[in-house]
């Protein structure tokens, strides 16, 4: 589990970046040619400036822009980059600077000399003002991510994460919320690598309460997911379910957070045998998730679960799903299970289950797959009922690899009651008579139709909601429409004038 589940988490900032950058594509595009050659140090510096701007103008948009670059930036961080950035962002004798620097290992001498050079040249020109505390939290976030890169620093990362949280809560600034939400993510990562996630749970719970009181939607969305993840990690589905029923997930949460939330709900519902609800949630998770290539881990994890849930619902997943380049390898075991369920062969199902047990266990789908046994039997009986008009219980028993004729009788009886097949058992003769096909045109048809239409409409509405539009794009259209109207007016005027001309001419002639 750890392996698969961690990956969606890692890719989080990236998907946010992808999803949201449509908004201001233009700005980004302008930035891009400049950004490429930019060194991480200057990038951090410009990010700090952007955060300053966000706080000064009360525009969280700039902060979001900074956070979108987090994933790319994270990969390029190292000790000297961070140290240099901190040195340059903060004035020379700042106390914050020294505390921040204390988290990084001491600098090699050559580096220090260089810094001294740079500071001495810039310092007299313009004394740096003390940056806002949002910048400090942002730098702390970078340091935590950097520390998490090597196992030796995990305990240090936890310590820093805890201190940052305290600091964040003491400062209590609304302009800090976007950065704070990211800090929570980093806290979870730190605890996951360095110790038990359960240890962070009380802290998350307390923070969740505060966030919901302060209507801090971003932190709330992030924290609910952190908590659900921690519960699901320890298979505490009961608690997870209670948390879901007692909290409302903020509407304004971003797609990546929503995708995760739906995934967790889907998992909880599947465990509780509420497969159709689970299926809907997993579909939502897939739809809201970033593209398969960007976050393959999450994509695979959701699909694994969704395949099993679909089977449990009695559906057979699409064949093309298993040919998807990202999923093909990850789903190979599941594909074999699907084949066994489809043919209704209990023995094939058992061997496949035994063969891939470790894999399913790691994916935490084993107990769900075990539940498929009854579906396999049902499919088997259904196939028999379709191909025979009369079959002895003995033969059913042999064909489905059941243990005894007695069992077969009960199982067939149950299948008839559950409406899986149409037929009768004639006990005296020991056979099953399969009835003719039911008259299929009843009210249930319209119900089915209604359900499907409902699903399509829901899908449409959800996709409309999920769409993002570039800012001010309609202005252009408006301008174009305005132009068209203008032209039309002109045309009308010309025609009118032309008419007059004609008349004039007529008169003249």
């Amino acid at each position: 589990m750890a392996d698969v589940e961690m990956r969606p988490a890692v890719t989080e900032p990236k998907d946010e970046e992808r999803k949201e950058d449509k908004e201001d594509k233009k700005e980004e595009k302008k930035d891009e040619p400049k950004k490429e050659p930019e060194s991480p140090v200057t990038e951090i510096k410009s990010n700090a400036a952007l955060i300053e701007k966000a706080v000064a103008t009360l525009e969280p948009r700039f902060t979001h822009r900074v956070l979108r670059t987090l994933a790319a930036l994270r990969k390029r961080l190292d000790d000297s980059v961070l140290r240099k950035a901190i040195e340059e962002v903060y004035p020379k004798d700042s106390s914050v600077k020294t505390t921040l620097l204390s988290w990084l290992p001491a600098a090699p001498t050559s580096d220090q000399e260089m810094e001294i050079d740079s500071t001495t040249t810039t310092a007299p020109a313009k004394p740096l003002p003390e940056p806002v505390s949002e910048v400090e939290i942002y730098l702390r976030l970078l340091i935590i991510h950097h520390l998490l890169k090597s196992p030796d620093h995990y305990t240090k990362a936890i310590e820093l994460a805890r201190q940052s949280v305290e600091k964040m809560q003491a400062l209590n600034r609304r302009s800090m919320d976007p950065v704070a939400a990211k800090i929570w993510f980093a806290v979870e990562r730190a605890y996951e690598f360095g110790g038990e996630i359960a240890d962070a749970r009380p802290m998350f719970l307390a923070a969740q309460r505060t966030a919901s009181l302060r209507h801090d939607d971003e932190a709330q969305a992030s924290l609910i997911n952190r908590l659900l993840r921690s519960y699901v990690h320890y298979s505490l589905y009961d608690q997870a379910d209670k948390l879901v029923s007692k909290t409302t997930f903020p509407e304004s949460a971003g797609n990546p957070q929503y995708a995760r939330y739906h995934y967790f709900i889907g998992r909880i519902k599947a465990v509780q045998l509420n497969y159709s609800a689970a299926h809907t949630n997993l579909q939502q998770a897939i739809r809201r998730a970033p593209p398969a290539k960007v976050a393959p881990g999450f994509y695979q994890a959701v699909h694994k679960l969704s395949v099993v849930v679909e089977l449990l619902m009695g559906d057979i997943p699409d064949r093309s799903l298993f040919r998807h380049p990202v999923l093909e390898k990850a789903l190979s075991g599941y594909f074999e299970i699907v084949k066994a369920v489809r043919t209704g062969s209990l023995s094939q199902f058992q061997t496949t289950l035994a063969k891939h047990a470790a894999r399913f266990e790691a994916d935490k789908t084993y107990t769900l797959i075990v539940r498929l046994r009854q579906n396999v039997i049902k499919t088997g009986i259904r196939r028999l009922s379709l191909s025979y008009s009369r079959i002895s219980l003995r033969d059913i028993c042999v064909k489905l690899h059941l243990d005894s004729e007695e069992d077969a009788e009960y199982i067939v009886g149950k299948a008839i009651r559950d409406g899986v097949i149409e037929g009768r058992i004639v006990h005296e003769k020991g056979w099953m008579e399969c009835g003719s096909q039911r008259n299929v045109y009843g009210p249930e048809v319209s119900e089915m139709f209604q359900r499907r239409i409902g699903y399509c409409l829901e899908l449409h509405n959800q996709s409309v909601k999920a769409m993002r539009y570039p800012l001010n794009a309609h202005r252009k259209e408006l301008a174009a429409a305005e132009g068209a109207r203008e032209r039309q007016k002109e045309l009308a005027k010309e025609i009118q004038e032309g008419d007059l001309d004609d008349e004039d001419m007529g008169e003249d002639f």
């Binding site: 505490l236 266990e361 084993y366 046994r373 009768r424 005296e428 009210p443």
Partner: protein
């Protein structure tokens, strides 16, 4: 832990372990002990506590849970089990494992099964501190798990046969209600799967040993019994003519129209 509590605990152990155990005495001792535990802050453990005290507290609650089953008080078992959760889940890394833990967890699973709380059953099963493939090796857990599987797929005879294979004495307390459940299941299957059934075979299918029991059961379910031909005829609820749900169809069509309007 105070000395009075300890003496009460020893008293409880004595009366619980005597054969047959003194259920009445256990009951009064347990209620006294629970008050004692609350006073010592051990019922819901908080703060720094001595390891031995926690073990004793867990032991008392475990005896309480088993006592509830023996005196057939399921809601009392439910309470004891919830109190034990803290010891089993949160203190699992500090306390030495209890040999009664899995029997009690298994009993809880069976209880959920007989109350037909299948969703809770699976949630509880998922949260067991066992890897999924080790469930088969633990007799206390595999018993309810197998029962659930057989019930779901319809292998009722296996459930019937398994009633004697209970891994612990207490499991048998649930057998009666379980048999009641499967009899009703089978009866409803028979109603739809057969036109008629000889009395003898019906008794066999429903696990009745005497005909009088079967007749009483048949009467309960409203089956027609032909005593001369010794058969049961199942009244088929005739294919009643279904009305077209006009109201619903109109409402649905209007809803589609509205939605389409929005889309186009």
């Amino acid at each position: 832990m105070s000395s009075s509590l300890v003496s009460l605990y020893e008293d409880l152990q004595r009366s619980f372990n005597s054969i047959p155990s003194d259920l009445k005495r256990c009951g009064t001792l347990l209620s006294q002990l629970k008050i004692g535990l609350i006073e010592a802050g051990l019922l819901i453990p908080q703060g720094d506590l001595v390891l031995e005290d926690l073990v004793i507290a867990r032991d008392i609650l475990e005896i309480g849970a088993i006592w509830s089953i023996r005196s057939r008080d399921e809601s009392s078992f439910d309470r004891y089990f919830s109190q034990l959760q803290t010891f089993y889940n949160d203190y699992s890394s500090y306390l030495p494992p209890s040999k009664r833990e899995f029997p009690i967890r298994g009993l809880n699973l069976i209880r959920l099964l007989t109350q037909n709380r299948i969703a809770d059953f699976h949630t509880t099963l998922e949260s067991l501190p066992l890897p999924a493939d080790a469930i088969g090796d633990n007799p206390y857990i595999s018993h309810p798990v197998n029962l659930e599987r057989w019930l779901m797929e319809g292998s009722y005879s296996k459930v019937w046969n398994a009633r004697a294979e209970a891994p612990a004495e207490e499991y048998k307390y649930f057998v009666d209600s379980l048999i009641g459940t499967i009899r009703n299941e089978i009866a409803s299957c028979e109603e739809s799967a057969y036109n008629s059934l000889p009395l003898k075979d019906a008794a066999l299918l429903l696990f009745f040993s005497s005909q009088s029991e079967l007749l009483a059961f048949a009467q309960q379910r409203g089956w027609e019994i032909d005593l001369t031909g010794a058969t049961i005829t199942f009244v088929r609820n005739g294919e009643e003519q279904l009305e077209i749900p006009r109201q619903k169809l109109i409402a649905a069509s209007l809803a589609y129209a509205r939605e389409l309007e929005q889309i186009v």
